[in-house]
Assembly symmetry: C2
Homo-oligomer: 357 residues x 2
């Protein structure tokens, strides 16, 4: 065990207050259909380019997350955001209207986990009362940048994942604000027949940022295989340091390994004597309806875990249906050029423990 | 003044212990020539592609920074790193050999300031004893990605800046370690005729992360004009909140506005009644020798401020020649595609106050 195999514990109870979710058409028609805050029937969100559509999605997502708290953006002390597009322009342009200090991230599909970890660090230490973590991906902007423009109609391999058109914004704040902030108190008191727009029982309890891992995978159409070793590495370290085992958690969810990577992660852990059971799932497997939608290996992209965590996992934690969840955001840190140059694909897995409290 | 116009103060004295600097040939021949830890006569650093050269520079920079402390990488609790190349692969590949949790950043040329701020947040709050902030740029990888491959021999405009080939790694740690860590105590006791390899008197006192600002500049060959409003915005807010004025600082240094942006920032502040004097400089103006080297408006790229801060500014703070310095890292958050699509260039300026203590 390395000296810096460290689990960061957040004693001051940083909480997730709300999420905003913005989805594309396929995601709206998928397994979680209907629960997102906003969607676009043609995936454009009214914008003239796919890149601007993706920026608009981030803007909408953060607006929705703030609206649920009746907050304006000045309540946020910091924003963390990133995406897959070159120079993270979806975040840079998408959040420009919010008058909030901005720290840009790059973690590929692990960006949500990275943003939640940094927001928890900052809120737990008392630097700010609340911070936002925002991320997005768009199928059309990502495909033309990483593979081919969709108009080309290229064949996809069975191991390839479908980049999710989705954006999520997450507001992390000091738990105690729920009892003292007048806007939050008022937002909590929803009419008896309606669910409260904000979450009151979700805590970020721990985090374990990952290390970059590379196991020789060079196939840009098999991200699951590239990322599985990173997910397995972080999980192995986490179980070792915490002294816990998979059964101790209601849900262990990666985002996004999809079919191929999910299977490989189970195998890699089994080789080390750790058996992930039916409580092990992946955001890339959850988002689409595999019966009705053929998305090959499943979903991917920063927006995939953002939508699944926001719309499926957090509400269950808030209601107490899930009490103890490990979320491991996984990212493949290659570029189209590094793949063309024949380099293997490095990956990373950042772990966040979310609890009902 | 907005509610979140906040200066973050670091009461627990996060210190900068050491830097590693790796430079290209032009930078080695420039105004700071000879003080960098390592350089390459052909800018390749022995690697087959420019992208891999840049990754190698990050690896070398962090090795140099650690070696000065006689530390191995397990002393680092976290690494923050980013660069200009698509999907930040210079950082992803460059730091893969270090067994340290990795959080990727994207802040364009503001990445050094962003990394220092996050490292200071984390160290000051006691999450880790030490963290690294690493960044790089390479003229050949950046030019072919953002403008034209250098082999094309394109004409450059007078306002264009020269992307610096350079990498810097900065180790931020708890000040008290200098008195208790045996390796640091031993590294401090250099022979009497030699300077100590590590810094013992540099504190990160305050930080003010910037907001994204966009003033309609669409010319990708005039980054200085795009970034000047962001630098001015952060400086204005900082002076207002802190109640200080430019004369209170030994040095106010932006990185990297170069000739055009430096002049515009002075003008923008003068319009608000704040007059920056001869203590206002810019890393893009410092790095090259304007008499001998024609670099047009000056230097740019994440590596520019990294080299200048590490090799020129921090040693002066450590020796007490500068006691109170504002460093404002500025970044242009556009991509080649956003420029082609006609969008104006958003920019950001993150402020760090460094003091002799």
């Amino acid at each position: 065990m390395s000296k810096n195999d460290r689990i960061f514990k957040f004693e001051n109870k940083p909480a997730i207050f709300s999420c905003g979710t913005v989805a594309g058409k396929k995601e709206w028609e998928g397994a979680l259909g209907g629960v997102f805050d906003c969607h676009s029937e043609d995936d454009t969100f009214g914008m003239p380019t796919w890149e601007q559509s993706e920026s608009e999605m981030q803007r909408l997502a953060l607006n929705h997350a703030l609206a649920k708290l009746s907050w304006d953006s000045t309540e946020l002390g910091l924003m963390f955001a990133g995406d897959l597009i070159n120079q993270c322009t979806s975040s840079g342009y998408g959040l420009i209207d919010f008058d909030v200090p901005f720290l840009g991230l790059f973690g590929a599909c692990s960006t949500l986990a990275e943003g939640l970890i940094l927001a928890a660090f900052i809120v737990n230490a008392g630097y700010v009362n609340a911070a936002a973590a925002v991320t997005s991906s768009h199928n059309c902007s990502a495909e033309r940048q990483f593979r081919f423009p969709i108009e080309y109609g290229g064949q996809r391999t069975p191991t390839s994942q479908w980049t999710v058109t989705g954006a999520g914004a997450f507001i992390v704040g000091r738990r105690s604000l729920l009892d003292v902030d007048e806007k939050l108190i008022s937002a909590k008191s929803a009419p008896p027949n309606q669910p409260s727009p904000l979450f009151t029982h979700i805590r970020i309890a721990e985090a374990m940022p990952g290390r970059t891992i590379e196991c020789g995978i060079t196939d840009a159409n098999n991200m699951g295989a590239a990322m599985a070793p990173a997910a397995a590495d972080t999980l192995l370290r986490y179980f070792k340091v915490s002294g816990t085992k998979p059964d101790d958690y209601d849900l262990i969810v990666t985002g996004d390994l999809a079919f191929e990577g999910h299977r490989l992660t189970s195998e890699l852990l089994a080789q080390k004597g750790i058996h992930l059971g039916s409580n092990f799932n992946d955001c890339g497997l959850i988002i689409y309806d595999r019966e009705r939608q053929d998305m090959h290996a499943g979903g991917s992209g920063c927006g995939c875990s953002a939508l699944v965590v926001a719309a499926e996992i957090l509400p269950k934690i808030d209601r107490g249906e899930l009490k103890n969840v490990l979320f491991i955001g996984t990212g493949a840190l290659m570029s189209p050029m590094s793949v063309q140059q024949g380099l293997p694909i490095p990956a990373i897995g950042h772990l966040v423990r979310l609890i009902h409290d």
